[in-house]
């Protein structure tokens, strides 16, 4: 069991992972992985399917008691999963307010829903929301806790392309306003390039590659730096690059 002590963190860290290891039935998925994330930093993690991206994110979220190594995570971390995971028997605002310990949770939840453009559906049942609406509610539920670290586990992969673009813009504007550190797990290189300060490639249980993107947002996806980085990342991922440039 990894030690999860936020007390180890310096003021320059919301995540400090040292030698994080996880194996399933002898098959090593995370192999002595090190990772630091700074406050307010937007980090995207890409990797082929099965490389342990989600395993790492679950470990950071405190959902994996069997992970080994040293792991210190900001105590206010919040998670958005790939599926919205709204509790179907609680109205949307009540989902956002779930577990919130503030004097007027309903008002706080409504403000958060307003921020993601979902105030009108505050009293709706979750099963009546569209996929994009549900994921926005999940975002509001994470942000209403004012997290120091926002863990996003492929939150847009189940959405259609147009909704995904809207969600990218929404996440960026929310990030710019609240400035949590973000770890976005994704398999979409373009998503990583559009959003992140730093892109990590996870391979063989370790961070095989790290690239900073010091470009202003919104970014032109045809910017020469991005085009070059895209080719490099896709090569890292073992995808033939002729088809994409």
């Amino acid at each position: 069991m990894a030690t999860r002590d936020p007390g180890v963190l310096t003021t320059e860290q919301v995540v400090q992972a040292r030698g994080v290891t996880r194996a399933f039935d002898g098959q090593v998925v995370l192999d002595h992985l090190d990772l630091d994330i700074a406050p307010g930093e937007f980090v995207a993690m890409i990797g082929r399917s099965g490389t342990g991206k989600s395993t790492l994110l679950r470990a950071l979220a405190g959902l994996d008691p069997d992970v080994g190594g040293e792991l210190a995570v900001d105590a206010t971390a919040a998670v958005v999963f790939q599926e919205p995971r709204l509790v179907p028997w609680k109205r949307v605002w009540n989902n956002v307010a779930l577990g919130l310990r503030v004097p007027d949770p309903r008002a706080v939840a409504r403000t958060a829903l307003d921020e993601v453009g979902l105030a009108a559906r505050a009293d709706a049942w979750p099963l009546t929301l569209s996929g994009g609406e549900a994921q926005r509610a999940a975002l509001a539920r994470a942000l209403v806790r004012d997290p120091g670290l926002l863990l996003l586990d492929e939150p847009f992969s189940a959405l259609d392309a147009l909704t995904r673009i809207t969600m990218h813009q929404l996440v960026l504007s929310l990030w710019e306003r609240h400035r949590p550190a973000v770890l976005l797990v994704t398999h979409d290189v373009d998503e990583a390039l559009a959003l992140a300060d730093r892109v990590l490639v996870l391979a063989d249980g370790q961070i095989a590659h790290s690239a900073s993107i010091p470009l202003d947002r919104p970014r032109d996806r045809d910017h020469p730096d991005l085009v070059a980085l895209r080719i490099r990342l896709l090569t890292e991922l073992g995808v033939a690059t002729r088809d994409v440039s």
Binding site: F24, W89, W125
Partner: protein, 300 residues
């Protein structure tokens, strides 16, 4: 915590790659309302359509008995039953007492038995559902109880409890407990592990987790158990009241049998039927209210 995801996922390299959501409720899994509107209205209309076949059966009954095709000794006509019922209600005969008094006695027995048996079953099911220890301690006994022929216990109960109210109420309590226990236990175990995980991420306490996620998640199944359990409770009462009772609907049936008054037996049976339907209807109302989040699928 016994409800958790992951055992099947761990074999693949990436345990958190999402599987299909494991909501236990039919129709909820899709997450999106498919047939907006149309199904909701069709449902309501079919409510009236459901009345047709019972009415046809009643009409046939009346025709067969009043024309003498079936002898009134075997099947009294509905009009005879009506006057018998009126008579039983208005006269306090030494043989039968009044119908409403018998009904109240029976209702009381079912209510007491159900509250004791159902309450106990809920507590046991929650304890068994929430911990492996509780399951190992409780579940084998309840499974054994389930296979026990309940009515075979009647002679035993008479020896144990005599012939007063206790053997009747015990029988009703046992009959009510078994289906409610089984369904509540299954309902708790069927709660989506992903939601339990969400509760953990949101920092819910154990009590909050149970109140906000586990019990509401199990509620649809618990309500199915409630309906079954009320059904078996009434069933047990009929049997229990035919042994050594001096009041109640079962007593009236017994008396009717002794005095060869088929019409009285039929009236008592019909009252049982109506009370059974009524309790079922009440549970349906509770269901409609408590599960309105699911109705969203049908009506929005």
């Amino acid at each position: 915590m016994s409800i958790s995801t992951g055992s099947s996922e761990t074999r693949r390299g990436s345990p958190a790659e999402p599987d299909a959501p494991a909501l236990p409720l039919a129709g909820v899994t899709g997450g999106r309302p498919r047939a907006r509107g149309s199904r909701g209205r069709g449902w309501r209309r079919s409510g009236w359509l459901r009345l047709i076949s019972p009415v046809v059966v009643l009409a046939l009954w009346q025709i067969l008995s009043s024309t003498g095709v079936v002898s009134p000794q075997k099947l009294p006509s509905l009009t005879t039953l009506w006057s018998t019922a009126v008579h039983l209600i208005t006269t306090d005969s030494p043989t039968y007492g009044t119908l409403q008094h018998a009904m109240l006695i029976s209702l009381e027995r079912v209510a007491i038995g159900f509250v004791i048996g159902g309450g106990l079953a809920m507590v046991l099911a929650v304890v068994a559902g929430l911990s492996r220890f509780g399951e190992n301690a409780i579940d084998p006994l309840m499974q054994a109880l389930r296979t026990l022929p309940l009515f075979g216990l009647i002679p035993v109960f008479i020896v144990w409890f005599g012939i007063g109210e206790s053997p009747k109420i015990t029988l009703v309590a046992l009959a009510a407990a078994v289906p409610l226990y089984l369904n509540t236990f299954a309902g708790i175990r069927g709660v989506d592990g992903k939601l339990a995980e969400l509760g953990q991420v949101l920092g819910l306490s154990r009590a909050e987790q149970i109140r906000a996620i586990i019990l509401p998640g199990a509620l649809p199944t618990i309500l199915v158990g409630l309906r079954q359990s009320l059904g078996t409770a009434w069933l047990a009462l009929v049997v229990a009241e035919q042994i050594n009772a001096n009041a109640g609907l079962g007593f009236i049936i017994n008396q009717g049998e002794q005095f060869l008054q088929q019409n009285v037996i039929f009236v008592a049976l019909i009252v049982y039927l109506i009370l059974g339907l009524l309790t079922d209807y009440i549970v349906r109302l509770i269901e409609r209210r408590a599960l309105s989040w699911r109705r969203g699928i049908l009506e929005s």
